[in-house]
């Protein structure tokens, strides 16, 4: 027979049975969640590849040590791309007899293509956005340069052969990027004035940049056309600020977690539903076997059915996912380039494959039992197919999740913790449920008849009740995690940039000024006044092997290997650092020890035990790497990639740095500070801070949106769990009614059963959610976490409400239909 044709016909016929709808809905929601996240992250990644964010002030930036070839500019114009040219170079600015090194940037009127400049009329004055650039003979300079030169707006300055009037304080330029403390202060002029300065001569070290903007398709085509041109390099997003990268990485972690949990929950719902589907098809299979269908054909029919179901639900999920990711895109507006590049086909393929894997892995083991139905069941209905090996069933499910997880979370630790958490939760739920059921059994004789009936339903069906508790429990645990815990985690994350996050940095504090500055900070600004030493050194060797940019393929590594590091020394590790590997300083302090930030260690290939050699001034220092640290860069506290034990670097020349919070209304105090300590430079990071805060808010909104899908799959699990004993409950209640029980007694009995199930599940789920919350907070998100006490109230209460209302809703027909009808149907 044509089993494929038969399976299509059966799929249509079985659709009304309900189980297939539940399987399809679970798949649909999970795939919608997965594909919306995949589509979205794919587009963001592609946008990132195009360097198309505000952080570059353009959609694409080409840079070169020589003027950008004219044909490249003309090509961009031909492709309808907006373009802007700028030159940047280091030069000395002169005011009277004072000289200061600055990073000059000459821009045209189209700069910046993305983002806006922010300026103020006076040093530490109110800042505002502007569409303008400096007019001819005007110069905008940052507060650091203004402080160093001790000039006010209106004052004159010399740059090369030209005179400029300092008109505005430049607070923010979108493509500033990089390490703030390693770049000379900024001076921005109009490009039309560049020639007059006579600073650009043959052999001058100038960076020429072409900024381009346009629709993503044109940008991508252009990018492809020039990618092999060796005369220019495409600027990389890796130079973007690390605190924004951290925020985006966290967003991806949250989204990946939501998608992964959604798949796992859908899997659970599918496994429970397909079990019921299989049980309800035992008779059909027995008849089919009796009529001559072979085991292989039964397997084929149901496998085809599942594949068809997975493909249809998967395709629909992909379609809805595509729409949903547009909403995600809208939620991230501003953070990402307007009009992300169109999504690739990859998420669609991933969605369909994930749908197939999920359905087949979770449903097939149950459906395979159908082929084991003996035809003799037509004569003896008590004959059940042999159960499948549990190891096989769980093994396939776990394998499927392992296959699916790298697509989603991108973080193996997070994946492991989540899956292990779910597995342990299931195990704990099962053990607790069994113990509680045993306890309830002892209570049974003490209750009145209807309640006893309800209780007996729970205790008699111990196996099914346990399965229900595990199913509903996992659903509720995840929902608790995603509602209460998510709020806690996200709030906690946002709280890490509280109102008093440091918004000013002081650098160039001389050693002899330390006590005075510290006192000033404590007394006048009300800050803690902690100062950190900052010593500039260049890494020259790792394990006595000299370091050169050529040793590294990666752009960032090349840059890091050749630039000067800010080294520091501290006695105790800072609160916003975490030891990843190794130990803090040993008791024996006779030699130099280094503690390295894990990211930079990875980039430069540094491991614990390696010996690093730095040149500081004209002196050399070597020390052993004793530990690796994780640094919370977005805390805005002073932090260093490399720190040593105090004994190692105390004698080396250096300055001090501090950070503090001060409300913008008190900015005038800064002017006083600068007057009192003229050599100190103040950095205002309020603008960056606000940008990071805005990003966090957007990320939170995005994550909340994706969690809706995960919660929906959680609800599917609840439905599946409650449906699993529906038929049996229907039959028993009908029998009770036939034996004379009235409606009130039946409802009371059922309510007792559902409330008990809900209570048991709620208590265990609250416990599980609390433990997982602490583990996630500590190991993954690295935030301090206090368990929300509400979990203990809302967990059991919500569970009781959900199980009772869904359970009673599911059995409502029972009370309206004649017991005879139910009994005849369920014979």
């Amino acid at each position: 027979m044509n089993t494929f044709k038969f399976s299509i016909v059966s799929l249509k016929r079985d659709w009304s049975s309900g189980e297939l709808k539940l399987i399809a809905t679970s798949v649909l929601i999970a795939i919608t969640c997965l594909t919306s996240v995949s589509f979205f992250t794919d587009r963001v990644k592609r946008a990132t590849e195009l360097q198309a964010t505000e952080l570059l002030a353009a959609d694409l930036v080409l840079s070169a040590p020589n003027p950008i070839p004219v044909e490249l500019i003309e090509d961009a114009i031909d492709r309808n791309l907006t373009h802007s040219l700028n030159e940047s170079f280091r030069s000395v600015v002169v005011v009277d007899d004072q000289l200061e090194m600055s990073e000059v940037k000459a821009v045209d009127e189209r700069y910046p293509i993305r983002g806006k400049l922010r300026i103020s009329d006076a040093l530490f004055g109110d800042e505002y956005e502007t569409e303008l650039i400096p007019a001819s003979t005007e110069a905008w300079i940052d507060s650091r340069l203004a402080q160093a030169l001790q000039i006010q707006p209106g004052d004159q300055l010399s740059l090369g052969a030209s005179q400029f009037t300092f008109t505005k304080v430049l607070n923010y330029e979108p493509d500033r990027g990089g390490d703030l403390f390693n770049i000379a202060p900024r001076l921005l002029i109009n490009r039309s004035d560049l020639k007059k300065t006579q600073l650009i001569l043959p052999g001058s070290r100038v960076r020429y940049r072409l900024l381009l903007g346009g629709n993503s398709a044109d940008i991508e085509t252009y990018r492809n056309s020039i990618k092999d041109d060796t005369r220019v390099s495409i600027q990389s997003i890796k130079q973007a600020r690390p605190e924004i990268r951290t925020a985006l990485e966290r967003a991806e972690q949250f989204l990946g977690l939501a998608a992964l949990v959604s798949i796992a929950l859908a899997g659970l719902a599918i496994a429970m539903t397909s079990h019921r589907y299989a049980v309800r098809h035992y008779d059909n299979c027995a008849i089919l076997r009796c009529l001559g269908l072979q085991q292989r054909q039964i397997t084929q029919i149901y496998t085809y059915q599942l594949i068809l179901l997975a493909l249809i639900a998967g395709l629909l999920g992909c379609f809805i996912g595509f729409i949903a990711q547009e909403i995600l895109n809208k939620l991230m507006v501003g953070l990402l380039q307007e009009g992300l590049p169109p999504p690739s086909i990859l998420p669609l393929i991933i969605g369909l494959l994930a749908s197939l894997i999920t359905v087949l892995a979770f449903a097939l083991p149950q459906i395979l039992r159908l082929s084991r139905v003996t035809p003799l069941r037509v004569l003896r209905r008590d004959l059940l197919p042999l159960p499948l090996n549990n190891y096989l069933v769980y093994g396939i499910a776990i394998l499927a999740l392992i296959i699916l997880s790298p697509w989603q979370s991108g973080d193996s630790k997070l994946t492991f913790l989540t899956l292990a958490g779910l597995f342990i939760t299931a195990l704990v739920l099962a053990i607790c449920a069994r113990s509680l059921i045993l306890f309830l059994k002892h209570m049974q004789p003490k209750l009145q008849s209807a309640a006893r009936y309800g209780l007996s339903n729970v205790t008699r069906r111990a196996q099914q009740s346990t399965t229900q508790v595990v199913g509903v429990g996992i659903g509720v645990t995840v929902m608790l995690l995603l509602t209460l815990v998510r709020t806690d985690l996200l709030a906690n994350w946002q709280d890490r940039l509280p109102a008093n996050t440091p918004n000013y940095f002081l650098i160039n504090i001389q050693p002899e000024q330390v006590s005075q500055v510290s006192r000033y900070l404590q007394d006048t600004i009300n800050a803690n006044g902690k100062l950190y030493p900052m010593i500039r050194g260049r890494l020259t060797a790792i394990n006595q092997q000299s370091v050169s940019a050529d040793d590294y393929a990666n752009e960032r590594a090349k840059r890091l290997a050749t630039r000067e590091f800010n080294l520091s020394y501290i006695e105790d590790m800072q609160a916003d650092n975490q030891l990843i590997a190794g130990n803090w300083w040993p008791d024996d302090r006779n030699q130099a020890y280094f503690s390295i930030e894990q990211g930079i260690a990875e980039t430069l290939g540094i491991n614990i035990g390696d010996t690093l050699t730095y040149i500081i001034g004209d002196r050399e220092i070597s020390g052993e790497v004793i530990n690796l640290r994780w640094v919370e860069w977005d805390s805005f506290n002073v932090n260093f990639f490399v720190v040593s034990n105090p004994e190692a670097l105390t004698d080396y020349p250096g300055t001090f740095i501090s950070s503090f919070y001060m409300p913008s209304s008190e900015r005038s105090k800064l002017i006083e500070l600068v007057k009192q300590f003229p050599s100190i430079t103040v950095f205002d990071v309020d603008a960056i801070l606000n940008q990071v805060r805005a990003i966090m808010q957007q990320v939170v909104r995005t994550v909340e949106f994706v969690f809706i899908f995960t919660i929906l799959t959680g609800i599917m699990v609840l439905f599946a769990a409650l449906q699993s004993t529906h038929d049996e409950r229907m039959h028993e209640s009908a029998l009770m009614r036939a034996l004379g029980a009235n409606q009130t007694q039946i409802v009371f009995g059922l309510t007792t059963e559902f409330v008990l199930l809900g209570l048991v599940t709620g208590i265990i789920s609250a416990l599980a959610a609390s433990v997982i919350e602490i583990a996630l907070a500590h190991y993954v998100f690295k935030v301090e976490m206090i368990v929300n006490p509400l979990i203990w109230l809302i967990g059991p209460l919500a569970c009781c409400l959900i199980t009772t209302s869904t359970g009673l809703y599911g059995t409502r027909h029972l009370l309206r239909t004649s017991p005879m009808h139910v009994l005849r149907k369920t014979v």
Binding site: L288, G292, L293, Q295, R296, L376, V378
Partner: protein, 223 residues
């Protein structure tokens, strides 16, 4: 010429009290075109014998030769093929697929055997059992008698050589049962099918060419 032959059939099952013998050393045969009634009280083992003869189950020892094929040499799929090719069934509880209409239920064995014009042949068969106006009804829309007619139509549709019937009137009232029996025997004669029928109804058994009575898992009387 024998179409069904059982030699030394034994069926034992394990129970908490030890091994239980349901059928003990059954040897019997049925000729082509013959009708045989297997009678006995509840629990005598008659349905188990039917299951073994039809290849729905395997004996603990002994063998069944069905249409010249030794079923003990076949695996489950091989026996399924034999059922598909030469066996029809009518059961006490009808065993229609609830999701299929009367017509679809009837045409199912033909579809399984990949016979062309399945729908047309099924329709003709339903005409013969008097259900031409109910072909698109689902089992739950039909009375017990009508459901059993559909089951009979399904059984005869693929033109089986042997028809096994397990208490075909057990779930029906007397009047309906009479009509069903009449229909069953008419079709049996018309199609020259071998009929093996399990019943505890001696009146029904008398309609068959031959009867064997089972008690305690053994043939106690054969006529």
């Amino acid at each position: 010429m024998n179409i069904v032959q059982a030699e030394g059939l034994v069926k034992q099952v394990k129970s908490p009290e030890g091994t239980l013998t349901i059928l003990n050393n059954i040897t019997m045969s049925v000729k082509r075109g013959e009708s045989l009634a297997i009678v006995g009280v509840s629990g005598s083992g008659k349905s188990t014998l039917l299951g073994l003869l039809a290849g729905l189950d395997t004996p603990s020892s002994g063998k069944v030769i069905l249409n010249d094929i030794d079923l003990s040499t076949l695996d489950e799929d091989g026996r399924a093929r034999i059922r598909s090719e030469s066996v029809g069934f009518v059961f006490q509880s009808f065993h229609l697929l609830p999701g299929l209409t009367a017509l679809e239920n009837t045409s199912l064995p033909l579809e399984l055997a990949e016979i062309s014009d399945a729908t047309q042949k099924a329709q003709q068969q339903l005409d013969q059992v008097g259900l031409s106006d109910r072909i698109h009804h689902y089992p739950n829309q039909l009375s017990g008698g009508e459901q059993q007619r559909v089951a009979i139509a399904r059984a005869f549709c693929a033109n089986p050589a042997i028809l096994f019937a397990d208490e075909p009137t057990g779930n029906l009232d007397q009047k309906t049962a009479g009509k069903i029996i009449e229909l069953l025997f008419n079709l049996n004669n018309k199609n020259d099918t071998t009929l093996i029928l399990v019943t505890h109804d001696h009146n029904l058994a008398k309609l068959c060419d031959r009867q064997i009575e089972i008690a305690g898992g053994e043939i106690v009387q054969s006529s």
